[in-house]
Structures are given as structure tokens and as C-alpha cells.
Amino acid sequence: MSDPAVSQLGLDVDRVSDFLLARSGEEAKMLQDSMVDSLASQFPQDRWDLIPSIGEYGPDAHQNLYMVEGQRDFRDWLQAQDVSIQEYKDAVGPVQYSTVSVQLKSLLPQARSNRGWRIRLIGFPSLRTIACGLGSHYQGTQNHNQMGQASALIRSRALAVLDDQRDALERWPSATPAHWEERGLMDSPVLRIGNIDLSSFDGGGGAKLRMVRNTTVKKDLATFFAIRGANEESFTERGAEWIRELHDIAVELGSPKGS
């Protein structure tokens, strides 16, 4: 199922993670073209659309993270460490996430984010964590739990459709609350957010995604019917393999049965 037009050597996964984990909007914009060039070696642009996007926090977002999303135990811990809202804001940084959507031109002749499905890579700079997988969209979704259950059903259908890549998709679960709330995207405890050392929080369990993401991201992640996450180092090691795997799954899923 591998695309013969693709160079297996051209994908520089560091250029991808550099963009996804850039700490500022300016830095991300500067790295964007390099990331697209690198991914284009795996996803030729005559066949795929590569759409980057940088999500910076809104004005009150950090306060909301501190007071609401992070939950009482984390807020208590921050306060016990004398970490103010402003200090937390500085530690988290201005970029909530950076993402790139990779979609088959045959499926979406003109890119639209509220139709169809696509390969998604999404980085959370403050957590040095990257999620990748296959996602749909949250148009018309009442809440993330409803979307998450739908994603599980969508994945079940994808498994039934696939032949060659079925085993590959088996390794990619659909998103659950662990992915959009807790630590499901981290393959080892994330013990720092910026300059804040989290070693003493929650028995060393590390950061949870809810500490740095808003509710839109929660819904967005719930649309993933195939998802895996990795810390920066793990992604450097395995990201290229994962991206190729997603490429091959997407190619088979995007092909009419029997063609």
C-alpha cells in the first residue's frame, strides 16, 4: 500500500516536531514551511493537502486553566508552590497547540475542516507532547463525550473496511477521556510545564492535558478515531514510523473498496 511516489528517506521528523512544539507563534510560523517541506516527502502535494495551524491562547485562557480546567487538586498544588496565575501563564507560554492536517485531495478537493476525516498531528508545546492520528471534526457535536463515543464507532467501521492496514489500525485506539483530559497522550510522566517542576504533584504522576488545553481542544481530540501520543524524545524516535503508518492507513481508507 506504500505510495511509490514517496521517498522513504525524505521525512525529517525533527522538523515536524520543531514546528509542533514551538513555544511562540513567531517561532512556529518561522518553522512552518520547513515542516511542510518535510511532510511533503511523505505526502506529495499533488495528492495531499497539508494545512498547518497555530492555536494561541485567548486573553483569559490561562486564568481559566488555573482556576477551572486544571481542577482543584492542581490549583491547590500551584498555590502551595506559590505559583500565581501570571507565573503559570508565563510557564505555559502563549501557544496552546500547533497542528497540521493532512488530507487526501481526492476526498476533499477543497479543504474544509467541518467535513470528512484527515490525518492530524497536534503538538502541545508546554507539555512537549505530540498527538497524532486520524480525526474527523466536531461540527454538530454536543459534547466531547458524545464525540468520543462516535469516534469509537467510526473506528470500528474503519477496521471493518481495511484489509492490508487492519493490523496497523489495531495499534491506534480511538480517543478516550484519558487522551483529552488526563495523561493518555504521554508515554512517560511530564514533570515540567515551562519552569514549573511538577515532580511533587500527584505522586510524580506528571502533568495532565487538562492543565494546558481549553474545551475546544477537548472536543477536537475527541474526534480522533485513531490516536497515539508521545513525548518529544519518543516522537523523534518513532514519529517517522507512525506518520508512514498513518499514511498507509489513510491511503487504503481513502480508496473505494475493490479499487
Partner: protein, 388 residues
């Protein structure tokens, strides 16, 4: 299995069903599976053998009049519908000069005569006035004429007067009368142009000529079983047509066709096994071959019957559990419904069988266990009232 991920609209339908929860998704999946089976069935239903397909194509390309002959339920009408569509799409492949093809469809009736099809008369304001029949009208409007189920009418009587024309010669079919003009002779003829049409002489009392172009065709379906019991076509008319045999679908094709008729997937296996056994018994019995079309309603009868009566037998129609065999929904109920579904779908034809054919068929049906001996006996007894 179809792939909703390869098409945006299909994917959005999948996603919408998934968003509505497990039950809605299960319903969507069942409907989609049924739709997929129907797509396969549509393909299989008209999947002709290579030689039959070639005979049809070449016969239509080379002959003015073509009949598809086969047992009931073999899809002859559907084949002609698709044929006309194919020819219209690419007339030059069939050697036609026209850029398009249109067809008028008529289903003969027992009381039909020459007047109805060729040239008849009626009374308008107390005056005798001529009326075009279907044949003349089709020629006037440059349409092919399709006679569906020709043996429903006595075609020797209907077309006897145009036998000579069908063999390529001009023939007078009568006189055109109306209250405003002198009578005119009416001729059927063949044109040296591709288009068909009507010419009326300028002279008083001059002829009206309906000329079929060389692209014009007369097509028909002929039911090989009913032909022995309703109207047979005499040799003189019969030899004016090319006859293309359309055999019944193979047993394996039938299974695919039948699967499309089953809406409750839990019953799929049991229904396909039992109804296919009936179809197979017909296939193997000389003079009892029937096409799939007569059997494809049987699953619907059984499914409705199970829903309406099955709950009394303790079967839960809302259960998601598969039905491994008919035993799990009550063997007596299933057997009775199968026999009833078969009787109401095929009984009118069974009732016309010669005794020896019915006997051989019954032996084959009970030998393979398609229905029990008791059920077969009940079917045979029930045929008595269908012969009345």
C-alpha cells in the same frame, strides 16, 4: 463491504449515525449492509453469461425484431431496459446511425387484436375515425417498440397482418378514415433512412405511409413456461424474430440475489439456506426452472410472519443475537412460513405444471429438505384452489 471513508457524503452519514449513539449506528450498519447486498444483487441479477450477452447485443445490432426467451423471473424486462439504455448511450457501437434511441413499452393483454396494436377505429361524434395502434404510434415518433410479456396476448392474431412487413416488405394495413377527409390507404413500410416517421401524400385520398427506419427495432420478452399454458407464438410469426435464450441465474448467483432481499441480518443465513434449496430444486427439475425474481419476495413474507407471530413463540424481535438456525425462532413457525411464502410467490405457476413435473419437483424439494414432506403435501393440496 462498502467503504464510507472513500466518499465524503458517505462518511458524513456514517459520522452522523455514530453521533446518534450505539443503536442508531447499529441500525445504520444494518441498512448499509442491506444496501451493499442490494448493489451486489443488482449486478448479479443481470449478470449474463458472456455468450448470452453477446447474443443479445449482436441480435439487436443485426436484426429488426428480437425476443428474449426464458423462464419467469429471469430479469428479461430488466435486461431490455438496460439494453435500451446501453444502445442510447452508444448507438454507433450497435451499428446505428441515430444519435439516440427511445423506446415505447407496452404490455400486451389477452383481448388484444390487430386494431389495438396496428390500426383501429373508434367513433367520434357519430363518425367512424381511425386510431393509431402502438406500433404505428411508435414509428410515427421514431421510438422502438418493446412488447413486454408477449405471450400474454395472442400475438399471431395481433401481428398476423404485418408478417409480410416484418420480413422487410411494404404492406397495406388498412384505411385511414375521419370525418374531415377522404379515406386514405395506410401502409407500413421500411425506410432507407435511420429515422422512422410518417409521410402523408399531398394528393386527395393519397396514401399514409408509416416507415420504420433501418435503426428501428421491435423487442419483446417471451415467457418460456407460460408459453405452454397461455399463448404460444406460431411458426410464421416466430421466425420473424431472433430468439435469445435467457437462462435462470446459477444457484451461487441466486444466493447473492436473495441475500439482498433479507432485511434482518440475523435471519440471513437461515433464509438464504432454505429458499436457495427451493430454487435449486427447481433448477434441477426439467421443465420446472424458474428465475430468481419469483423467489426474492419469500424472505419478506417470512420476516413479517416472524415479527407478527414470533413473539408468541418466545422469539425476541429486538434481540441483537444472531439466528443460527430456524430452530431458535421456532422450527414449526419457520417451516410453515417458508411453505406459505413459497406457495404465494410461485403457486400460480406450480398450479399450471403437468402432474409429472409437479411430482418430480416435489421429490427433489423434499429430498434436499427444502421443505418437509408434510409441507409439500400441504402446498400440493393448496394448489387445487389455485387451479379453479
Amino acid at each position: 463491504m462498502s467503504n464510507p471513508f472513500s466518499d465524503l457524503d458517505s462518511f458524513e452519514a456514517l459520522r452522523a449515525a455514530a453521533l446518534n449513539g450505539q443503536d442508531a449506528f447499529a441500525l445504520y450498519s444494518r441498512r448499509e449492509a442491506a444496501a451493499a447486498r442490494r448493489r451486489v444483487a443488482q449486478f448479479v441479477e443481470v449478470r449474463l453469461t458472456r455468450r448470452v450477452q453477446r447474443m443479445i447485443d449482436v441480435a439487436v445490432a443485426s436484426s429488426r425484431a428480437v425476443l428474449l426467451v426464458g423462464p419467469p423471473g429471469t430479469g428479461k424486462t430488466q435486461i431490455i431496459e438496460q439494453l435500451v439504455e446501453k444502445v442510447d448511450h452508444d448507438p454507433h457501437r450497435y451499428g446505428l446511425a441515430s444519435d439516440s434511441v427511445d423506446a415505447a413499452w407496452v404490455t400486451p393483454e389477452e383481448e388484444w387484436t390487430f386494431d389495438r396494436v396496428v390500426l383501429g377505429e373508434t367513433v367520434v361524434d357519430g363518425e367512424l375515425t381511425s386510431v393509431e395502434g402502438d406500433l404505428l404510434e411508435a414509428i410515427r415518433y421514431n421510438r422502438w417498440l418493446v412488447l413486454d410479456e408477449t405471450n400474454r396476448a395472442d400475438m399471431d392474431r395481433v401481428l398476423g397482418g404485418v408478417l409480410t412487413w416484418l420480413s422487410g416488405k411494404r404492406v397495406r394495413v388498412g384505411t385511414w378514415r375521419d370525418e374531415k377527409a377522404d379515406p386514405r390507404p395506410v401502409f407500413l413500410d421500411w425506410s432507407d433512412q435511420p429515422r422512422s416517421g410518417l409521410t402523408i401524400s399531398d394528393t386527395v385520398g393519397g396514401p399514409i405511409v408509416y416507415a420504420a427506419g433501418y435503426d428501428w427495432r421491435l423487442l419483446g420478452t417471451y415467457n418460456a413456461v407460460d408459453a405452454q399454458r397461455v399463448f404460444r407464438m406460431g411458426q410464421a410469426l416466430s421466425r420473424r424474430f431472433k430468439h435469445v435464450p435467457v437462462p435462470p441465474a446459477s444457484l451461487s448467483d441466486f444466493r447473492q440475489i436473495l441475500a439482498a432481499s433479507v432485511t434482518d441480518e440475523r435471519l440471513l443465513e437461515a433464509l438464504v439456506a432454505r429458499v436457495s434449496a427451493l430454487y435449486g430444486a427447481h433448477l434441477r427439475t426439467a421443465d420446472a426452472q424458474l428465475g430468481p425474481g419469483l423467489f426474492t419476495d419469500i424472505p419478506a413474507y417470512i420476516e413479517h410472519g416472524i415479527r407478527m407471530n414470533g413473539e408468541q413463540e418466545g422469539w425476541d424481535p429486538n434481540s441483537e443475537e444472531p439466528v443460527d438456525d430456524e430452530a431458535s425462532i421456532g422450527p414449526e413457525l419457520f417451516e410453515e412460513l417458508l411453505a406459505e411464502g413459497y406457495l404465494i410467490s410461485v403457486g400460480n405457476i406450480l398450479a399450471k405444471y403437468e402432474d409429472y413435473v409437479l411430482q418430480q419437483l416435489g421429490e427433489e424439494i423434499t429430498r434436499v429438505g427444502a421443505v418437509s414432506e408434510a409441507s409439500w403435501q400441504w402446498i400440493v393440496e393448496s394448489l387445487q384452489s389455485m387451479r379453479a
